[in-house]
């Protein structure tokens, strides 16, 4: 029976894998090794700043195993969404790592590099022509948001990778790519069913997360056949069960039955999951429904600079008074920094032990524009009052944390100096604030660190998250390097 074996060593390039699992995978004679290096999960900072969220050393370690094995066996190695976000800087970092590995190990090979950066003018032009479709609930990007974005990337489909494979290039690294396509491109090229190939890719992109016990840093093998695929964990501590695989189908998805991607929808309404052996699962019935070709755009833009201060209290009288204290600190900032316009800064107090985690009961006003309206963008509670005043209901000291509360003062301002100054002022005001009923008059806060305040660096927000009508190949040029 015709089959294609696809090895996924790890959920994110750089997260690692046991050498023994990788060897067990190679022993199955895979036709291809593929790995996804990216995610929007760590937030907008990485895409916006060009920094990578996975450490260089971890990435190099993982890539060394994969490159050596792929070259030895003469099979393709495809790396998607290089550097975590897939913009030019991220791609460049991982290409540099590959060059280093090649040099250190005397490897010589051709590599296809497929960037995914989209020019701002291209996006503006498409916006004017009506070729941008919003991705509700993300807002339709405005001209200003596009212009202010630092990096704009598009998620490529399988086609640009197929173009490289058709030139007989085995080592391929891409900018932003739709997660499943690095795993499915070779199978699509060889005529396997696109729906099954993409669904298998969707599972393999998280490697052993779909096994039980799950792990983001262990290997998984996918075996694609004519009318089904089989999943096999490569560490004997793990196995694939119908529950673990079906549960993974839900993970991070809006709707488990309809997965939108470049050029169509993956339809799982008739998908079945069947226990094959005790350790392996067989999946059938997934279909790819072709549609108009759209690629997803992602971009981030800079909002300002952050300073944070971390402190805590164990005083239940103080904890009860926190809402009043915070309101007072906000007023004192205005009274003390009279030159300061409200659009120059944003201040947030995260109170752990009472309300530091929940995103609910909070509603954002209009999102801020760069350098403007920081203070217009405040969280409001259901009754439209300032959250920092009304959010807390502290009639009783909180049970969790044994009556302690941790406080993070979070200041974002247009400049680093201003964010430092405001954070420092808020911290010292809070430390010595004479709240009602106070009996602990020496100081209100326990600081675990000296210095107490930390530079939080640049702050970004997602600025473009929408669809661009496109030809599958037009935005993804192929560059070939000889190493």
């Amino acid at each position: 029976m015709k089959e294609m074996r696809i090895l996924s060593p790890t959920a994110i390039l750089g997260y690692g894998f046991p050498e023994s699992s990788f060897e067990a995978g190679m022993a199955q004679k895979p036709h291809i090794i593929a790995v996804d290096a990216g995610s929007t999960d760590p937030g907008p900072y990485y895409l916006g700043s060009g920094n990578c969220f996975v450490d260089r050393a971890g990435t190099k370690r993982d890539l060394t195993f994969m490159l050596k094995a792929a070259i030895k066996e003469n099979i393709p190695l495809i790396i998607g969404t290089a550097g975590g976000s897939g913009a030019r800087d991220h791609l460049q970092r991982d290409v540099e790592i590959i060059k280093e590995i090649a040099k250190e190990n005397n490897l010589s090979f051709k590599i296809a590099v497929i960037p995914s950066d989209i020019n701002k003018n291209t996006v503006l032009e498409a916006l004017k022509k009506g070729n941008i479709a919003p991705l509700y609930p993300a807002p339709m990007p405005t001209e200003e948001e596009i212009l202010n974005s630092t990096n704009i990337v598009a998620q490529m489909g399988a086609e640009p990778i197929l173009a490289a494979l058709n030139q007989n290039i085995n080592i391929i690294i891409t900018g932003r790519a739709y997660d499943p396509v690095v795993f499915s491109a070779l199978a699509i090229k060889d005529g396997f069913d696109t729906g099954l190939a993409l669904h298998l890719g969707k599972i393999l992109e998280c490697a052993a997360i779909a096994a039980t016990p799950g792990s983001g840093s262990d290997c998984m093998l996918g075996i694609l056949r004519e009318d089904h695929f089989e999943l096999k964990a490569l560490n004997e501590e793990r196995k694939c069960t119908t529950t673990s695989v079906a549960a993974h189908t839900l993970y991070e998805k809006s709707d488990p039955a309809k997965l939108h991607g470049p050029g169509g929808i993956l339809d799982l309404t008739e998908t079945t999951f069947e226990q094959n052996t005790e350790e392996t699962v067989i999946v059938r019935g997934t279909k790819f429904i072709k549609g108009e070709y759209y690629i997803k755009l992602e971009a981030a833009r800079k909002l300002g600079m952050r300073t944070v201060s971390f402190a805590a209290t164990a005083d239940h009288i103080m904890i009860k008074e926190i809402p009043t204290i915070l309101q007072s600190i906000r007023e004192k900032i205005k009274a003390n920094f009279t030159d300061l316009k409200k659009e120059d800064y944003f201040i947030d107090f995260k109170i752990y032990g009472t309300s530091g985690v929940s995103l609910f009961g909070l509603q954002s006003a209009e999102p801020p524009t760069v350098g403007q309206n920081f203070s217009d963008y405040k969280f409001t509670s259901a009754n439209n009052s300032d959250v920092s005043i009304n959010k807390f209901n502290l009639a009783e000291p909180p049970a969790v944390g044994g009556g302690e509360a941790a406080i993070i003062i979070d200041v974002v301002a247009n400049t680093k100096e201003l964010s430092k100054a405001l954070c420092s002022f808020a911290r010292s005001t809070m430390l010595h604030f004479g709240y009602a009923g106070r009996i602990s008059t020496a100081g209100n806060l326990a600081f675990p660190f000296s210095p107490s305040d930390f530079d939080g660096g640049e702050v970004y927000e997602f600025s473009v998250y929408a669809l661009l009508k496109a030809d599958p190949l037009e935005h993804f040029p192929l560059e070939v390097l000889e190493l």
Binding site: G43, P44, A138, L359, F360, L362
Partner: protein
């Protein structure tokens, strides 16, 4: 009754930067079917539980192959936006976990 009595997974996570999704994976098919037919989680009850508007609930979707119910909503702010509390959205399951219901 609480979900922890009848489900092995109750979790939340971003589904992209603008959506938050909740998964309940029940202990077995029978419990899953009974829970779905009991209509314990509706747009109205979930909106009340999370103090959100009903129109911000994008879908309440049973998924029989996993004995699971998925609820996807509009994320209150885009992931990593200033004022963020939970960049990955992975710790927003508490109200769901503590919800009380007749079963």
């Amino acid at each position: 009754m609480k979900l922890t009595d009848i489900a092995k997974v109750v979790r939340s996570k971003n589904a992209g930067p603008y959506e938050l999704t909740f998964d309940i994976i029940f202990n077995d098919a029978h419990t899953f079917e009974k829970f779905i037919s009991s209509e314990i989680i509706t747009k109205k009850s979930f909106a009340n539980l999370y103090t959100i508007k009903e129109e911000d609930i994008l879908g309440i979707i049973p998924f029989a192959p996993a004995n699971a119910l998925k609820i996807t909503i509009v994320r209150p702010i885009s992931s990593g936006q200033i004022g963020e509390r939970d960049v990955y959205g992975a710790q927003q399951h508490k109200p769901l976990m503590e919800m009380q219901f007749e079963f």
